[in-house]
């Protein structure tokens, strides 16, 4: 009996357009997902496959079952066939079984199809090899991960549909499952979520057994260093818990008898029966009619609002989101980073939800509300009654727009109220009303425009499904990584997005506020087109015909549309022009082509003798208020070779074209504008030891349409320019070459022999150090900062001038920073220490202490600081800015974690101190040593800085603090390497940051325990004496050799195992 019913089910699904739409959309999504995964032979194919499959499970399965469940379980109710179906001899058990099995079978077939697309995509991207092992792993994943999860999701939908009988509830449940799992994944360090981390250990433990996709127990296996999939006890228990949940749901479902469900429904909707009364003798009397637009608009709007607000989906979502916002702010407003807290302000509280939760959930709510509202009359079968009234289509549309405006405002107001309540709970900081209003406005604007588009599309499409597909496409471009995955990198592809970013306490919205209104105006003009069409052609729920369409396109309408189109195009062109002028919109494949052309055209210069830059004189005029700067740079080129130099190759970066380039004693012989390269020929050859001057000028202007990003930004309260890649290059730059051999083959380039750091040679290595002298002018009240000692400071023509000069050469990375804050100074021996921050507090005191103690330790143990001054400057939160960045003689520290943050009560060590030590240590590891050998890894830079952290924290805060740091890094390492898809490699050779930082901490903790600091510092001293500037630079292997040289022979095996071995055994 069941089999024919199931066949019946499948025949039904085959005829449903929604099923086919789900197949097409999900396949397209999975293909894009697979295409977006970077493939490399160096990655672990098992992890790659598992994570890809898990991503599909997490992102697709709940939505797929959610979309199909109403078809399976509520189709009678939707099409008014309930009684017909109930009158058939199919029992409730048989109904449940056939419907669930049918849906499950459909989902299995679709998931198999999706898996095929996924595997094809992964194989095509070279992410996984297509072999027997892969097929076996995939089958295991399908049987153990997909099938049980699908069973649970289908049974959950069955139970919900029987219990509540609401389609919307099924959709909301699917959406909550989808979003809820992602939130849990983000809170348990799932590899599928960017920047996720374990929030609390109990949540991790809970997910080990209740994660219905079984990603957490699998992740636990990888955290112990395991590289293959195994059915351990935790995994088996997890699956058993899931099966028990399935059994419970099934039991609950079959216990809900059809009659019970019907009774429940009828209890909800009691049918009122007529009571015939005596016939009346009164006659019908007409009343005066006076058509009033205001009354009609008011009536329609209030009815629409009432209908939306009374919908369970609306108030459940609003209450749920408000609760979520409240909990987000309460739990995270004072979070600076792990083990650090800050005193949250209104801005911090709002930032928790207003830039992520509100826009995303707001867009989804708009989708729900506009669909519900636009098709309300149709779904209630009231469309003809309403359409036959004298209320115009425009009025109906206006009422919808007004209603949606109110609903959107209610949503924003509710979220603000939740944040406000949470802020009052967690901090005594005053409520900043202006910040609340500002953030509300910033979020309301784009969502309102999106609402206009949604309503317009619904009004123009005769079929709700078509309108929904269009809107979902818009939302996908609006808030998913789809544009990037499709290679659409222009900012205007992110529909209805503006460059506006969350405000930072340091500089407010200066990073991106200039771009907000130009983008909003553009989107508004764009949305005016469908809105105008909707106002003219609104179908009123009864459809429109050809004659209406033809008659509607009046000259007036066409003129209006053309006017808006021209306005929108002009604004779009302006945006594109300004964006391109500031940062050329070069596609990734164009950049690769540039690199390939550069290598082909100029690689022969690699073997030509070229002068090197030995000194840089800079004149920089900053106009922070105008977001511009003028640079005049004079480079001293010296011939340090033994042969005369006839020609020089001078290059520029594509984003920063140079102006007025002059090379003394030389003339421009050839110029390639496309590649930005100029070849100069000396009138008389540059003899060994001789110098020439290269003078260039550079004009920078930032419109603010691009959000501020490292390392070139000019804003009123913080400006920072780094010489790389601003300054011209001399000679061939090997770093421009494409590294990946597969890509090289695509562009017709020969393969490069990749040299691992453990094989790096110092044969051709040389330090590129220069002397620097800079004169920087800024508006009065601003402070200009760069490398070297401040020789002179004066004011002239209403501007402040700062003259800096370095006494010795230093690594050739210049940087210019302008801030409006006063500095705090401290003389430490011969070195002047300076901290620039908007406020001086206990964290800046601690930072100053860290700077002194680090300098002292290096001076005593390794080598004294080479500069006269060491400066540390607070920097705002920036995309890809990190929390700290060390330049020669200049350190940038994130204001939030470096100045505002303090040590959390339960933290074993201070992150503020640790970070300051780490960045200051880079003055030795990075800028003194570790910058001369091309192809060497970052072991000499980052890993050794981690060693200094361990030593200084133990020295000044005790052993427990050091153990806490090791524990923190151990947890980070376990989590990161479990998430990583890379093949294991040695610490010296690793490209992975979790190895370079966390594993390095564990390795040095072990080496300290086994060898002691004396031997390690002895090795470092040897390294400095042999390889310090101006000697031959050191490679990472030189450190290993020095360490072995000073260590007992019996420890050599351990040193090799920890630094050169791939195994991480004993570290976790």
């Amino acid at each position: 009996m069941i089999w024919p019913l199931m066949v019946n089910e499948l025949k039904f699904y085959v005829r449903q357009p929604l099923c086919w739409l789900a197949v097409v959309l999900s396949c397209a999504f999975v293909f894009l997902l697979a295409a977006g995964l970077p493939g490399s032979a160096e990655q672990n194919p098992l992890k790659q496959l598992l994570f890809a499959c898990s991503a599909v499970a997490m992102l697709v399965l709940p939505l797929l079952t959610g979309v199909l469940a109403p078809l399976a379980f509520l189709r009678e109710q939707q099409s008014g066939m309930t009684e017909l179906i109930r009158a058939t001899p199919v029992s409730h058990f048989g109904w449940c079984l056939s419907r669930t099995a049918g849906l499950l079978l459909l989902c299995i077939v679709m998931t198999l199809l999706l898996s095929g697309v996924l595997l094809f995509g992964l194989w095509r991207a070279d992410a996984v090899p297509f072999d027997q092992e892969l097929i076996g792993t995939f089958l295991a994943i399908f049987l153990l991960q997909y099938m049980p999860a699908l069973l649970l999701l289908c049974l959950l939908q069955l139970w919900l549909s029987l219990k509540f009988g609401s389609v919307v509830l099924l959709y909301v449940a699917a959406l909550l499952l989808w979003a809820g799992y992602m939130a849990l994944a983000a809170g348990t360090g799932s590899p599928l979520m960017a920047n996720s981390q374990i929030v609390t250990p109990w949540l991790w433990q809970l997910m080990l057994y209740s994660d219905f996709y079984a990603i957490t127990p699998l992740l636990q296996q990888f955290m112990t260093g395991q590289q293959t999939l195994q059915l351990d006890l935790t995994f088996i228990l997890n699956r058993l818990v899931l099966l028990c949940a399935c059994a419970l749901l099934w039991w609950c479902s079959i216990r809900i008898k059809i009659s019970d469900a019907a009774a429940a429904k009828s209890a909800m909707k009691p049918v009122v029966t007529s009571e015939n009364s005596a016939s009346t003798s009164s006659l019908f009397r007409a009343v005066p009619v006076q058509h009033s637009a205001f009354y009609a608009l008011w009536q329609l709007t209030t009815l629409n609002i009432r209908q939306l607000m009374l919908h369970p989906g609306s108030w459940l979502s609003l209450v749920g989101l408000a609760a979520l916002a409240f909990s987000e702010v309460v739990s995270g407003a004072d979070y600076a980073e792990v083990m650090s807290v800050l005193t949250p302000t209104s801005r911090d509280a709002l930032n928790q939800v207003m830039w992520d939760l509100v826009p995303r959930c707001g867009a989804l709510l708009l989708l729900f509300w506009t669909t519900k509202l636009s098709w309300l009359n149709k779904s209630c079968d009231m469309h003809e009654l309403v359409a036959s009234t004298a209320v115009s289509g425009r009025m109906l549309l206006f009422s919808q727009l007004l209603c949606m405006t109110v609903m959107l405002s209610v949503f924003i107001a509710l979220m603000l109220t939740a944040v406000m309540a949470a802020q009052l709970c967690v901090t005594s900081a005053p409520l900043l009303w202006s910040e609340y209003l500002l953030q509300a406005g910033y979020q309301w604007g784009p969502l309102w425009l999106l609402m206009l588009l949604c309503v317009s599309l619904h009004s123009l499409c005769r079929h709700a499904l078509l309108a929904l597909v269009l809107i979902v496409l818009v939302l996908a471009l609006h808030m998913s990584p789809l544009p990037m995955m499709l290679g659409l990198e222009h900012p205007l592809w992110l529909l209805f997005a503006t460059p506006l970013h969350a405000a930072d306490e340091l500089w407010g919205y200066q990073s991106s506020s200039a771009g907000f209104w130009p983008f909003i105006v553009f989107w508004f003009l764009l949305v005016l087109i469908p809105l105008t069409l909707a106002l003219v052609f609104y179908h009123r729920g009864t459809g429109f015909s050809g004659p209406v369409l033809r008659a509607g396109f009046t000259p007036k309408l066409i003129s209006a549309l053309l006017f808006v189109l021209i306005g929108g195009s002009w604004q779009g062109w302006q945006l594109d022009h300004q964006l391109s002028a500031e940062q050329p919109l070069i596609h990734s494949f164009e950049r690769l082509q540039w690199r390939a052309n550069y290598e082909t055209e100029y690689q022969h210069w690699q073997h030509k003798p070229q002068p090197v830059v030995t000194a840089v004189y800079s004149e920089v005029d900053f106009e922070p208020a105008e977001q511009s700067a003028r640079l005049k740079l004079v480079f001293t080129l010296s011939n340090t070779t033994t042969e005369p130099i006839q020609q020089v190759l001078v290059g520029q970066h594509w984003a920063y074209p140079l102006q007025q380039i002059e090379l003394t004693g030389a003339k421009l012989s050839r110029e390639n504008r496309q590649l930005g390269q100029r070849e100069f020929t000396f009138t008389s050859p540059l003899l060994p030891g001789q110098n020439r001057s290269l003078t260039v000028q550079l004009q920078l202007k930032q419109s603010g349409l691009w959000p501020a990003a490292m390392h070139q930004l000019i804003r009123p309260d913080f400006s920072y320019l780094r010489s790389v890649p601003l300054f011209p290059t001399v000679g061939f730059v090997p770093e421009y070459r494409i590294r990946d051999n597969n890509t090289r083959t695509e562009y017709g380039l020969p393969k490069l022999t990749a040299q691992k750091p453990s094989e790096a040679s110092t044969e051709n290595a040389a330090y590129q150090w220069v002397k620097m002298e800079s004169v920087i002018s800024v508006p009065v009240g601003q402070e200009a900062i760069t490398q070297g000692a401040l020789v002179k400071q004066w004011q002239q023509h209403g501007r402040s001038f700062f003259h800096y000069r370095t006494s010795r050469p230093l690594r050739a990375i210049s940087a210019f920073v302008v801030v409006p804050w006063q500095k705090k100074q401290l003389q430490h021996g011969k070195v002047l220490l300076e901290i620039y921050a908007p406020e001086q507090n206990q964290s800046t005191e601690l930072t100053m202490l860290a700077m002194q103690q680090t300098l002292s330790w290096f001076e005593q143990q390794i080598s004294p600081y080479r500069g006269d001054v060491l400066r540390l400057v607070s920097m705002p939160e920036l995309d890809s800015g990190g929390t700290g960045y060390a330049l020669p003689q200049l350190v940038l520290i994130n204001h939030r974690v470096g100045v505002r943050a303090t040590q959390a009560a339960d933290a074993g060590f201070s992150q503020v101190y640790r970070r300051a030590v780490h960045e200051v240590a880079h003055q030795w590891f990075g800028h003194d040593m570790g910058n001369g050998v091309p192809g060497d890894g970052v072991f000499l830079v980052e890993s050794l800085a981690k060693y200094v952290e361990l030593v200084l924290i133990e020295q000044h805060f005790g052993r427990d603090a050091m153990v806490a740091l090791v524990g923190y890094e151990k947890e980070r390492f376990a989590r990161a390497q479990a998430r990583s898809k890379s093949q294991p490699s040695s610490l010296i050779d690793s490209d992975e940051s979790y190895d370079q930082y966390s594993r390095a901490t564990l390795v040095f903790a072990r080496l300290r325990a086994e060898l002691g600091d004396q031997l390690i510092t002895a090795a470092l001293r040897q390294l400095w004496s042999r390889h310090g500037y101006p000697n031959t630079p050191a490679s990472s292997m030189d450190f290993v050799r020095q360490l072995k040289a000073v260590s007992p022979v019996e420890k050599h095996g351990l040193i090799e195992q920890l630094l050169l071995g791939e195994s991480i055994e004993g570290l976790l």
Binding site: V287, P288, A296, V391
Partner: protein
């Protein structure tokens, strides 16, 4: 009042719903008769400006409805064949809503008319109940009430008595007769008896065309003395007879047929609108063949 000339409407799937349809209707009740799919609802929806015709003229009181649909909607009362209601709204609240959309903005007048309509449709006791929970007949009465809101000059009722019990049906008849004295009531129904009782004018539609239109009495009159009854099984009808209907009367087969000349062996019957209706359909079928 209503003037329709050469009206055509073809749906995207190729169905020709209205074909060169001509119709004239004056004040009073006008009945539209026709089998399923004849185009009655299409015609009513087109008159109600819910859909645009492909071609033809459509005027009400001299107003071109294709050019000025809003003019008609300002004086239209419409009850479609099928309709639904908003959830969570009481009968009175929904009538208030519809009244305002129809331009009854004066609160006192609105309240008065709603009270009166509730009474006329026998819904006073249920004014505060949710309409979505009403039975079929009650919902239909609500539909009639909303169609009468304001001061409609044209009232279009598509199957208004569907689902009404005999008593309510009678009440509606009485109401409509009163209402139609100063306005045009277009009534579409399958119950020929209703139209015969209520409508002074009638039109019979088939396949998107008007087969016959005119005064109800005048349409019946030509059949008087030409409709015959035959009782019993399989009565042999004369060759020139047109069978109008075969029904059973207490289990005995009763055939009504049309024959021009007197027949002695059959009983003569009083002609009705239904006879004319069946006769027109029969003749149309024969013409088609």
């Amino acid at each position: 009042m209503l003037q329709i000339n050469a009206l055509c409407k073809t749906y995207p799937d190729g169905t020709a719903a209205l074909q060169q349809l001509n119709l004239t209707a004056d004040r009073g009740m006008f009945g539209l008769l026709g089998p399923n799919g004849a185009g009655k609802s299409s015609l009513l929806r087109t008159i109600a400006t819910l859909q645009q015709p492909d071609s033809g003229e459509l005027q009400f009181d001299g107003v071109d409805l294709r050019q000025q649909p809003t003019k008609l909607r300002q004086q239209l009362g419409y009850l479609p064949q099928q309709f639904g209601v908003y959830p969570h709204m009481s009968c009175r609240a929904l009538l208030e809503h519809m009244a305002i959309l129809k331009g009854v903005v004066h609160k006192t007048y609105r309240q008065q008319q709603i009270n009166q309509l509730l009474e006329l449709t026998n819904l006073t006791a249920f004014a505060h109940k949710t309409v979505a929970h009403f039975s079929g007949g009650m919902r239909q009465r609500f539909g009639i009430a909303q169609a009468l809101l304001g001061d409609p000059a044209l009232i279009i009722l598509d199957e208004p008595t569907a689902g009404l019990d005999p008593e309510e049906r009678q009440r509606l008849h009485n109401l409509l007769v009163g209402v139609s004295k100063s306005r045009l009531v277009l009534l579409s129904t399958h119950i020929v008896e209703d139209i015969e009782q209520l409508c002074s004018q009638v039109a019979i539609l088939q396949a998107g065309r008007i087969l016959v239109q005119g005064d109800t009495e005048a349409l019946i009159q030509p059949l008087q003395g030409k409709v015959w009854l035959a009782y019993g099984e399989e009565s042999a009808l004369p060759a020139a007879a047109t069978l109008l209907s075969s029904t059973y009367q207490r289990g005995v087969l009763l055939q009504r047929f049309y024959h021009e000349k007197p027949l002695l062996q059959f009983q003569n019957a009083v002609a009705s609108l239904q006879d004319r209706y069946f006769l027109e359909l029969q003749q149309h079928r024969e013409e088609q063949q």
